[in-house]
């Protein structure tokens, strides 16, 4: 069985909009996959399905052997501890410092203070923010905030890193740096990475596996380097 498997997944929202229609896909451990599509194409729903922010109406979503759709509300945390999530809007706590924001993820899990410290510093070093541990999020640039978010996502050493448009709010230069950080995580830590984006430059440059979703349908699954975004897309 693959690390991540979607089988005939359908999602229809209560307002009648079909977000995903009969999507089946398998992703192996250590892969780096882009999920692309226009706004409202269903790629966000696809991503949210993986960390059970949404449940499928039918079909099964399996992540690391867990049937995600079947997880009870009370047990969601068990899944969340195995995955890291990076958001477009960073979702940092404004009243906590950089260090505290990253440590927060480990404190929630109930880890010892002694173990937390080296892990947090390690994660911050990996994203290149070790000097800013005492800063508050509003003292950082957008790129730096996104690095904090990435550090928080990987501090627990997850097997899967989900990125929902991580570069959506950043300028191209900063986006490049962020992508470098994410790519290194994939290479060094062998973390599986699934990233939703509509930044064609990034997709073209990185030459990874690409899933294309349009109107809720998986219209393309291109192996590494096969996908080439056209201007019309």
């Amino acid at each position: 069985m693959s690390f991540i498997e979607l089988k005939n997944v359908n999602k229809i929202y209560k307002n009648g909009i079909t977000a995903l229609a009969d999507v089946s896909v398998a992703i192996e451990k250590g892969e780096f996959v882009f999920v692309i599509g226009l706004t409202a194409s269903g790629k966000s729903t696809f991503i949210k399905m993986l960390y059970r922010e949404e449940k499928p109406n039918s079909g099964t979503v399996t992540v690391g052997g867990l049937n995600v759709g079947k997880i009870r509300n009370r047990k969601v945390y068990k899944l969340r501890r195995k995955i890291g999530i990076v958001f477009q809007d960073f979702k940092l706590l404004p009243k906590l410092t950089v260090y505290e924001n990253v440590a927060f993820a480990l404190e929630c899990v109930g880890m010892k203070e002694k173990e937390i410290r080296p892990k947090v510093l390690n994660a911050l070093e990996r994203v290149g923010l070790k000097e800013k541990v005492r800063s508050f999020p509003n003292e950082l640039s957008g790129g730096e905030q996104q690095r904090v978010c990435i550090a928080r996502a990987i501090v627990n050493e997850p097997k899967l890193l989900i990125c929902d448009e991580p570069t959506g709010n950043l300028d191209p230069e900063t986006s490049k740096e962020i992508m470098k950080v994410i790519d290194n995580i994939n290479k060094d830590l062998k973390t599986t990475i699934i990233m939703a984006t509509h930044d064609k430059d990034i997709v073209n440059r990185m030459k990874k596996r690409v899933l294309v979703i349009d109107h809720g349908i998986l219209v393309g699954d291109y192996a590494k380097g096969r996908y080439k975004a056209h201007e019309s897309n």
Partner: protein, 297 residues
């Protein structure tokens, strides 16, 4: 170990967030304070009315006058018969000689008149305390039928009026207290809901990084508890000092010497305890209810 760490962190976070969200915490605390003051006043008033009615009701008793020719054996029988009544609390026999002595002591006029007569014109009597004042009429009726009883007096008419008035007052007071407690609960939980609404991002992030629902709820629960606790400080001070001063000012009486106020000590501590319990429990439940809303998908 892990559980202890999570609880420890919850306490730390709760205190931190009361401080960090001070303006909102302050609003919750203020709201708790104001409503608890109302509750305190209501409890004090209610308890005193309850106490006064009890005391006044206790004053009522049935006086049974016995026939002149009742023998000692008969007297014994009458007393056992009355005592056997379920509504009878206690009986006191008072002989006509005792009555005479009392009256002679009371005024010289009685003294002269009574000594003028050859025979003591007074009756032997039994005073009967009842358990339930509302049943006093039927108890009196029963006693009247006992062999050897001359007559029975219990303040007919007046007793019924007093009893029914007190009944209404008591009900009104109880309803008021309950309503106030409910209003308090509603206000506190609403204010806390507002403070939590402003922190729904925090809850969302906690969920996303894999905090279990319990470890998310715990800091908020403790925070609600702290808010309730702090909010009950001023009402408690007002209750303790206010009531002690009031008691001293009024000389321990409620307008007439028929009704005395409840003694301040122990009573004020009891009311304080009730306030702390209401404040902290309502605070906890209020924040629990509010957090729950954000823990659903």
């Amino acid at each position: 170990m892990k559980a202890i760490r999570i609880i420890g962190r919850s306490f730390r976070d709760a205190f931190k967030s009361v401080g960090r969200n001070f303006s909102l915490s302050f609003a919750s605390i203020l709201c708790t304070t104001i409503t608890l003051i109302l509750v305190a006043v209501a409890i004090v008033v209610a308890a005193n009315i309850e106490n006064a009615t009890k005391l006044i009701e206790d004053e009522f008793s049935i006086v049974v006058y016995l026939k002149k020719d009742v023998t000692d054996a008969q007297l014994e029988n009458i007393q056992t018969d009355i005592k056997a009544q379920p509504n009878v609390e206690q009986i006191d026999f008072k002989s006509k000689d005792e009555w005479k002595m009392d009256m002679e002591e009371y005024s010289d006029t009685f003294d002269t008149i009574l000594n003028y007569l050859d025979e003591n014109p007074l009756f032997n009597s039994i005073s009967v305390k009842v358990k339930d004042i509302e049943e006093i009429g039927s108890t009196a009726k029963y006693i009247k039928k006992i062999e050897g009883v001359e007559s029975v007096k219990y303040g007919e008419g007046m007793v019924e009026n007093v009893v029914s008035t007190f009944d209404v007052v008591e009900k009104v007071v109880v309803v008021t207290v309950i309503a106030l407690v409910l209003v308090t609960a509603f206000l506190i939980s609403n204010t806390i809901k507002l403070t939590i609404f402003s922190r729904r991002n925090e809850i969302e992030i906690m969920r996303l990084v894999g905090a279990s629902n319990i470890s998310i709820k715990l800091p908020f629960l403790i925070e609600g508890f702290i808010i309730g606790l702090i909010g009950s400080i001023i009402p408690i001070c007002i209750t303790i000092y206010g009531y002690v001063i009031l008691y001293a000012q009024m000389g321990g009486e409620l307008f007439t010497n028929m009704a005395v106020l409840i003694k301040p000590y122990n009573f004020v501590f009891f009311v304080s305890l009730v306030l702390v319990v209401i404040g902290s429990i309502v605070g906890m439940l209020g924040s629990l209810k509010a957090v729950r809303k954000y823990l659903k998908i």
